[in-house]
């Protein structure tokens, strides 16, 4: 404790210390603006957000689990499972003669319901059977992975209706000279007139949902209880919070967000893939930690997690444009991750006294 007190910086330095992630993002942006040709363009930023959606959504899912002092290793493969389930369902509905709109809607809704299941099982194991979150969700990682592979063992899910592609790769907002802004569909213009595609649908959907979950965490009783459980489990129980039920809900919510990420993936790539989210799992944990959450629980916000995710997404895209193999990304993310925790140690939010 004494050590911490010594490191309590005051004023400006402390403020910078607390906001180092934001500062780091700016430095990254400036660096790549100079070093990567064509980095500063609408297109590149769309790519950053496009690639970032999985990390943002899984990061938000992870954040809820981490705030309660847990962890969810299964989100990546639950996302993969969701891509396969939704693709299969949509194809199956289409085959029964349903219209593309209806089959996509039904397929997605059904997937979202199924997607609650892994979270429910995780939550039950963790709360009722006292299985450590790491183990319970790792088991679920294995089970989701296995089930995914089984589902596509016979036949990959292909031939989704064209509409899926239109939604997944379409834009929410277009702009063209003369017509102005238009939503959802590409404006009908003469061939020579340039249409600027501004906001990809997938990104918009993801951010609407992230905003909803940020609201839940910040403004609702549910969010408050989530922090309380992570901060002091005993106190939470004694103040009448139904711990088991809350933990189950948190893991269901994480699973739900992972499923959303999977559904968006299906719309975008028009297929299902078992390991669609595998590489995003660790990125998402990194995003949460870079965003200032603590693995001991009780700390962290959605927007800072997004900030953490952006740092990774910008890094990945920037390096790619520079033609540097993404090997370096792993090294840099590793270093940032450790820096994040060390900075957190050196610039504590409050100082504690004996």
């Amino acid at each position: 404790m004494q050590n911490l007190n010594n490191h309590t910086r005051t004023g400006l330095l402390l403020k910078i210390g607390r906001q180092w992630a934001l500062l780091f993002l700016f430095i990254e942006l400036i660096f790549f603006s100079f070093m990567a040709r064509g980095f500063l363009s609408l297109n590149v930023f769309q790519i950053i957000f496009f690639f970032g959606t999985a990390v943002f959504l899984l990061g938000t899912a992870e954040l809820f689990a981490i705030i309660t002092g847990g962890i969810d290793l299964s989100v990546g493969y639950v996302m993969g499972l969701a891509t396969i389930v939704s693709a299969k369902l949509i194809v199956a509905f289409t085959k029964t003669g349903m219209g593309p709109g209806l089959s996509i809607t039904l397929g997605i809704l059904l997937t979202l319901v199924i997607g609650l299941l892994p979270g429910y099982v995780n939550g039950m194991l963790i709360s009722k059977l006292n299985v450590p979150p790491f183990i319970a969700t790792f088991s679920m990682l294995g089970i989701s992975h296995g089930v995914s592979e089984l589902l596509i063992a016979e036949k990959a899910a292909k031939n989704l209706p064209q509409l899926a592609n239109t939604i997944g790769n379409g834009y929410f907002l277009y702009y063209s000279k003369g017509i102005g802004f238009s939503f959802f569909s590409r404006p009908e213009v003469a061939r020579r007139v340039k249409v600027v595609e501004i906001l990809p649908n997938v990104v918009v959907i993801a951010f609407i949902l992230i905003a909803v979950f940020a609201f839940i965490l910040n403004r609702t009783k549910f969010g408050q209880h989530t922090y309380a459980i992570g901060g002091n489990r005993d106190a939470a129980i004694r103040s009448g919070i139904n711990l088991n039920r809350h933990i189950i809900k948190v893991y269901m919510l994480a699973s739900f967000l992972a499923t959303i990420a999977g559904v968006l993936y299906t719309l975008k790539y028009v297929t299902g893939k078992a390991d669609a989210g595998a590489s995003s799992l660790l990125d998402s944990i990194a995003a949460v930690v870079i965003g200032g959450a603590s693995l001991y629980g009780g700390k962290g916000t959605v927007w800072r997690t997004i900030l953490g995710g952006l740092i990774i997404a910008v890094l990945e895209t920037g390096l790619r444009i520079m033609g540097i193999p993404t090997f370096d990304k792993y090294i840099i993310v590793g270093i940032i991750l450790i820096t994040a925790v060390l900075v957190d140690q050196f610039f504590p939010e409050r100082t504690y006294k004996e």
């Binding site: 450590p132 088991s139 294995g142 089930v147 390991d275 090997f327 370096d328 090294i331 991750l337 060390l342």
Partner: protein
């Protein structure tokens, strides 16, 4: 938990013994089951195959055992192994192909440097965890990224090939050959016997077994018989008590993570001997997570304070036999993931039902 159930179970001593060693009994059960259902399962060759394929997993689990007993976790071991393998590969490749050095010398220098290098990630994680209170999960996750990136950079994303043949000759060779009625021979066929006669000989002990046995014995000894091992358990059981009884917990933790990293480095060396090439660890291999799974199935707790090398080996073998048996019995291999998941949950539930009373 249902304590009355737990109590009534406690009364039955036999049941307790079975429950405490459930992983071992499961292993026996599956061995018998697959011997009946899977053609070709029950053979010396197949068992050698199972162990040969599990060598890496066993080393990984042993590394993780030390860390988990202190209530930590090391997520970096999978990529430290890859780093060690490609580093050794690259150095051997350069030395050997320069034409100035013999295969033996190149291999010796290559593995020595790789082993020394593999200490570094552990030292760094250990210092961060012990001195700067970085949670083990994060420190080793950071090291996970860094070692992965460096291994990929060294290998440029391709396996390091064009290495001397002697690597696989040693790695896949046998310590003991036996000719029925004709006696034993060590490390190769008897002199003057050509390879065409190899079918007359039964190959008994693969070299990898011998080396694995040596490494495991040392680790077992270290954990169970020495002060170091005792302190490892004490730190996991009650870190505060360990500090107050004068154990230098910080130094101990740094050594633990360094040891874990070093064992992963050894695994990388086994890897290069077995495959003859320097392999970086593929992204989705999840060696570290399967190692944690095996250790927990073997009866350790992520809360620390318990676990053992032999128990972890049983955990690895249980997973390996299950995979191998399912494969031979013609079951879809994807069930493997599901099976590991279910085994893990079972391990924890049994642990909850039968609290340690010894």
């Amino acid at each position: 938990m249902n304590s009355s159930l737990a109590l009534s179970i406690e009364r039955s001593k036999t049941l307790r013994v079975v429950a405490k060693n459930w992983a071992f009994f499961f292993l026996l059960f599956f061995l018998i089951l697959f011997s009946i259902t899977g053609r070709g399962f029950l053979s010396v060759m197949n068992f050698q195959n199972i162990v040969h394929l599990s060598v890496i997993a066993i080393l990984m689990a042993s590394a993780e055992t030390f860390v988990i007993i202190t209530s930590g976790i090391d997520l970096s071991i999978g990529f430290v192994m890859g780093l060690s393998s490609v580093t050794a590969g690259k150095i051997i490749q350069i030395l050997y192909n320069s034409g100035n050095h013999s295969a033996g010398f190149s291999i010796f220098i290559g593995i020595s440097i790789a082993l020394v290098l593999s200490l570094i990630p552990g030292i760094i994680s250990g210092i961060m965890i012990a001195k700067y209170k970085v949670p083990p999960f994060i420190a080793t996750l950071g090291m996970w990224g860094i070692t992965n990136g460096i291994a990929l950079k060294i290998s440029n994303g391709f396996p390091v090939a064009e290495l001397p043949d002697s690597l696989t000759k040693i790695g896949n060779g046998y310590t003991l050959y036996y000719k029925p009625g004709g006696g034993f021979s060590f490390f190769g066929l008897p002199e003057g016997v050509g390879n065409e006669h190899i079918r007359d000989y039964i190959r008994l002990i693969p070299n990898s077994f011998l080396f694995l046995a040596i490494v495991l014995f040392i680790l077992y000894f270290l954990l169970k018989k020495t002060k170091f091992g005792q302190h490892t358990y004490a730190i996991g059981g009650n870190e505060d008590a360990a500090i107050r009884s004068g154990i230098n917990v910080k130094k101990h933790l740094i050594i633990i993570y360094t040891l874990s990293s070093f064992i992963a480095g050894i695994a990388g060396i086994f890897n290069i001997f077995q495959t003859g090439i320097g392999n970086f660890t593929p992204f989705g291999a999840m060696y570290e997570l399967f190692a944690v799974a095996a250790v927990v199935i073997g009866g350790a707790s992520l809360m620390g304070g318990k676990g053992g090398i032999l128990a972890s080996v049983v955990g690895v073998l249980l997973i390996a036999v299950l995979e191998n048996g399912l494969l031979i019995s013609g079951v879809e291999p994807f069930y493997r993931f599901i099976a590991v998941g279910l085994l893990l949950i079972l391990a924890i539930v049994i642990d909850e039902l039968f609290p340690d009373l010894f």
